[in-house]
């Protein structure tokens, strides 16, 4: 009897195909899990914090879903102003808080615009509250630096 044509051959082929399928499936699951971990570690931001320390600087912290934290500190000497900007995104107007940095070559100019809360995208009323707090500290900073 021909082994390839008989029931044994069919069974072998079936087992081989199922094994191959399970390997492909396990590889797909593994890749998906890796992708998910990568997404949680590098993309998914859980929390964003803005800390303004008078006469020291502004610190922005992003906490990722995996627990990783990314911090950016901008010295107060480099900060020109904190403003609420508006942008047209798709079919709507969105508002975002941003830090204007002084140009080291031309002090009256602006070298860079650093957006804040890029992931959270808070509503305008929340942004206004944060903006007012920032302006209070910046105003105090300007007063103390200009006083003789």
């Amino acid at each position: 009897m021909d082994a390839c044509g008989g029931p044994l051959g069919n069974l072998t082929a079936h087992v081989w195909l199922s094994l191959q399928n399970s390997m492909i499936l396990s590889a797909a699951i593994f890749i998906t899990l890796l992708g998910l971990l990568g997404y949680l570690h590098f993309v998914k931001i859980d929390q964003e914090t803005l800390l303004i320390i008078d006469s020291l600087g502004i610190q922005m912290t992003s906490s990722y879903a995996s627990g990783k934290e990314s911090t950016t500190f901008i010295e107060m000497g480099k900060v020109k102003d904190v403003v609420i900007n508006e942008a047209i995104y798709m079919q709507k107007v969105i508002y975002y808080l941003c830090i204007l940095l002084k140009d080291p070559v031309e002090p009256p100019g602006i070298s860079e615009v650093v957006p804040v809360f890029q992931s959270a995208k808070p509503r305008l009323d929340c942004l206004i509250e944060v903006y007012r707090s920032c302006q209070e500290i910046l105003a105090h900073q300007k007063d103390t630096s200009t006083s003789p």
């Binding site: 320390i53 006469s55 950016t72 003789p148």
Partner: protein
């Protein structure tokens, strides 16, 4: 303006004494570097400060007092601590106090002159920033944006803002030399007060590095002198040297070794880092090369490779013959120009016949060649890989020849067709003005032009098919060589020392700082902890990447596709000047 007192964490539990450091008036910051303990003779303290100032060029001063007691300082002690301000006059005078065993801190600022005149803050406007002195001393603060023209660290670091703190600590090494084992007149507390960090092995290595570097530098100068000999500048040798990847790699490695073992001291931290990266790169390369060498010489693998190489080359040649026979028929059911098809097919078949003869002629020497190639791996894996790339280039020389013939023929057809197409439309290419102009042709010219255009157009599919097949084969070889070059480039240019430093000592490569709030209560000074924000891996690679040997592709995808379409020859690993069409 708020007064910022930068206080080292290592001093937060030491005995009472004086705060020694630097006052930065522009930022109204006090950078505390050490605590000088009681008892002391004021004259000796002043002498020490002058010595340190002379050595470090940092304005040292006694900034105030540090009190670490069981409870709040009593009235007489308080008066005594305030009275020290008259011996060491400094405005403002800091009075830091911490109760033993508790977390409560107090900070007072007193001024001899009117505070308003100096711009010094009131008593409650003080911010205590704790910093790890060891980490700040050993770290290198990288600017937020490195200019593309400058190597990192070439430009002097800005001493504004927090960079001033880093700069102050880095330049105060002289102050940190004294420790508890010194029989000096004053007793200081700082990060190294328990004893200076040292290693016998490091000291021995430092002691031995001088003569070793001198010896190796002499040897390398001899090698470089031999390589610049006039014999190597003669036509065939210089031409071969410019074409072989091995020569390029050896030149590159020689430059690396010359720089690493030069007796000149590194002038800047960036140069030191570059030297260290090069040394680690060379060591890793040699280690990988030696492991490859041991693998090749174990179990007679070279013999096995030599035995397998000729049959593989034969098999490739046979497959090419089959491919040509397929092209000489009706490939994929396409009807070719029979005469041209036969001419091209026979021409290429003759080449393959020559190639097989050449391979069989070389077969007795292949094992010997491979043995020497294996031996070259002790110079490094990159050298072995470069030799492998050159061997692949030599073994696939027939494919390269086919590609060149096909490309030249196709290019001729394309340019001929484009020129005749312009003639067909009554136009011509103006070479001087680099544009297409109108032109009136004779009837004979138009007739012959149209005739030639028709002939070339009908012969184009046959030529294009041969060109397409051999270009694909050439691209396959180029891809394999490209992967080898990529691996060589990776070993050559990856800043392994910097990456290792980033992995094991992240604070050494600082992108900036971050702050944690330790205490924020009304009536008490705000206490922050300053931590170092390490440089991201991508920026470490970008900043400290070693210069490559210029073997990377010079074409963009667009220009490559354009060249392939018009039948221009591609030399992906040669610079424009090296190109020999």
């Amino acid at each position: 303006m708020l007064l910022k007192a930068f206080f080292p964490t290592c001093c937060s539990s030491v005995d009472s004494g004086l705060l020694v450091g630097r006052w930065v008036p522009e930022q109204s910051s006090a950078v505390v570097l050490a605590v000088l303990h009681f008892p002391f003779i004021p004259a000796q303290v002043k002498e020490l400060l002058v010595q340190v100032q002379r050595a470090s060029r940092v304005g040292m001063a006694v900034l105030g007092t540090w009190c670490h007691s069981q409870q709040e300082p009593e009235e007489p002690l308080g008066h005594f601590l305030e009275g020290l301000g008259t011996i060491f006059p400094h405005d403002p005078w800091l009075q830091l106090c911490r109760e033993r065993g508790s977390k409560s801190w107090s900070c007072k600022v007193s001024c001899q002159q009117a505070p308003a005149a100096l711009g010094v803050p009131c008593e409650d406007q003080v911010m205590l920033i704790f910093y790890d002195q060891r980490k700040v001393l050993l770290s290198r603060l990288h600017p937020s944006a490195v200019l593309p023209d400058h190597q990192a660290g070439d430009a002097p670091a800005s001493t504004r803002g927090l960079a001033a703190v880093f700069d102050t600590v880095a330049r105060s090494k002289e102050l940190f030399r004294s420790n508890q084992f010194n029989e000096g007149p004053v007793r200081l507390s700082h990060w190294q007060s328990e004893g200076v960090e040292a290693s016998i092995l490091v000291e021995l290595a430092k002691w031995a590095s001088g003569p070793v570097c001198l010896l190796l530098a002499c040897l390398l100068s001899l090698v470089s002198a031999a390589s610049t000999c006039r014999v190597f500048r003669l036509w065939p040798l210089s031409f071969i040297g410019s074409k072989l990847s091995t020569c390029e790699q050896l030149r590159h490695r020689l430059e690396h070794l010359t720089l690493v073992f030069s007796t000149q001291k590194a002038e800047s931290p960036a140069q030191l880092m570059r030297k260290a990266n090069m040394l680690v790169s060379v060591l890793l390369d040699v280690a990988l090369g030696l492991s490859l060498l041991s693998w090749l010489h174990g179990k007679n693998r070279i013999g096995q490779l030599a035995d397998a190489l000729v049959p593989v080359a034969d098999h490739v040649a046979k497959e090419l013959q089959h491919l040509l026979q397929w092209l000489m028929g009706a490939p994929a059911g396409l009807k070719m120009n029979r005469a041209l098809d036969q001419v091209l097919g026979r021409f290429f078949l003759y080449h393959i016949h020559l190639w097989i003869s050449y391979i069989h002629l070389m077969s007795p020497f292949i094992e010997c060649i491979l043995w020497h190639v294996g031996l070259s791996a002790c110079l490094g894996l990159t050298v072995a890989l470069s030799i492998l790339s050159d061997i692949i280039a030599l073994l696939t020389f027939h494919i390269y020849c086919f590609y060149v013939y096909g490309a030249r023929l196709y290019c001729l057809k394309i340019y001929g067709l484009s020129s005749l197409w312009r003639l067909f439309r009554g136009k011509k290419w103006n070479v001087l003005r680099q544009r297409v102009d109108s032109c009136s042709y004779d009837l004979d010219q138009l007739f012959i032009g149209t005739l030639l255009f028709t002939i070339l157009l009908f012969l184009l599919p046959t030529t294009a098919l041969y060109y397409l097949v051999f270009t694909l084969l050439r691209l396959l070889v180029v891809t394999v060589q490209g992967l080898i070059h990529l691996l060589v480039e990776l070993i050559n240019s990856l800043p392994l020392y910097s990456l290792g430093l980033r992995l094991c000592r992240p604070y050494r490569l600082a992108a900036g700082v971050k702050f944690c709030i330790l205490e924020h209560e009304a009536g008490r000074p705000l206490r922050l902890l300053m931590q170092i924000n390490p440089l991201p891996y991508t920026r470490v690679v970008h900043t400290y990447r070693l210069p490559s040997c210029g073997c990377h592709p010079k074409h963009s995808w667009g220009s490559l596709c354009r060249k392939l379409f018009f039948g221009e020859l591609i030399y992906p690993w040669r610079q424009r000047g090296d190109k020999q069409d």
